[in-house]
């Protein structure tokens, strides 16, 4: 229903703004309805302006900035409607060290309500997990879970 959608839309937008400011240390962002008169059918636009920068087309932002903003929006949705678990496949690949720390802190803060399964090559990310599954192919083409470590 239109009411339900608008309630979700506004709540998620507020979470998005909070998370963005935490991850970027300031700045502005949000979701917009492309057609405010037609909340039932309208598509959604996203804008983001890191602190000190000017508001531009979001596509002009860097690879790492976009990944972090997309992740903030995802977590904003989780804050409104938590999922039992979340699977992240190498979302930390474009992030620098400082942003990986922000990313892992955010995951840790959400992990009391949502279980996270994180596929990664990054040591810092691995260090924040409680359990680590190592997968290998001793026999070519045959996957095997070969180790379970605990932090």
């Amino acid at each position: 229903s239109c009411e339900q959608f608008l309630e979700a839309f506004k709540a998620i937008d507020l979470h998005f703004k909070d998370l963005f400011r935490v991850l970027f240390g300031g700045g502005e962002c949000g979701m917009l309805l492309l057609d405010e008169q037609d909340a039932l059918e309208s598509g959604i636009d996203i804008y983001a302006q890191p602190p000190g920068k000017k508001l531009q087309n979001i596509m002009l932002l860097s690879g790492g900035e976009k990944a972090l903003i997309a992740f903030a929006l995802l977590i904003a949705i989780f804050k409104y409607r938590p999922s039992p678990f979340c699977v992240l496949d190498e979302v930390d690949a474009p992030l620098d060290e400082a942003n990986i720390a922000r990313f892992t802190n955010l995951v840790q803060s959400m992990s009391d309500v949502t279980q996270f399964i994180i596929i990664t090559h990054n040591k810092r990310t691995i260090e924040t997990s409680q359990r680590i599954y190592g997968i290998t192919m001793e026999q070519p083409g045959v996957s095997k879970v070969v180790s379970v470590s605990f932090n």
Partner: protein, 168 residues
């Protein structure tokens, strides 16, 4: 509910039966390129009802069945089981304790499919409806495939809307 375990057999590179327990807040999956990590993520999408082969990097759904190696023959079916257990003291509105949910999906090379919830045969639609609105449903926002994190920013306005609608 919270996640308990995932079992795969014949799914992509996991030809031998593999069990993965998820008892922790954060579980990381590591390993060299091509060892099967993304295949695990896709197994979860698939057992929850993903129907688009392209979302699983395939051209047809049969591509998820273990295709053999130079040393192993192809298998005749793929099967994935996902088990969720109730969080402590979760009860339904009338005080009845919440049940675990165990979902199984099986695909045979013939094209035949089987779906089970708690060991009872069901339709794919029942799986979709079980998880609707949890982020694991049809417009899954809880599973972010490799390289896809930016997609919410590049996707069409109506596609973004459907993510919000799933949560609404």
């Amino acid at each position: 509910h919270k996640l308990e375990s995932l079992e795969l057999v014949g799914f992509k590179s996991f030809c031998d039966k593999t069990s993965v327990i998820f008892n922790d807040r954060i579980t990381s999956i590591v390993g060299p390129n091509g060892c099967g990590k993304s295949n695990v993520a896709e197994a979860i999408s698939w057992v929850l009802g993903e129907q688009r082969p392209k979302s699983l990097r395939g051209e047809k759904m049969e591509d998820v069945i273990f295709n053999g190696t130079s040393a192993r023959k192809p298998l005749g079916f793929a099967e994935v089981t996902l088990a969720l257990k109730p969080i402590e003291e979760a009860t339904l509105d009338d005080g009845i304790p919440v049940d675990p949910i165990v979902v199984t999906r099986r695909l045979y090379r013939s094209g035949e499919s089987e779906y089970l919830i708690n060991d009872r045969r069901c339709r794919l639609l029942d799986i979709h409806q079980t998880f609707e609105g949890t982020g694991l449903g049809f417009t899954s926002y809880a599973i972010i495939e490799q390289g896809r994190i930016g997609s919410i920013l590049t996707s069409k306005p109506m596609e973004r809307r459907s993510l919000i609608e799933e949560a609404a």
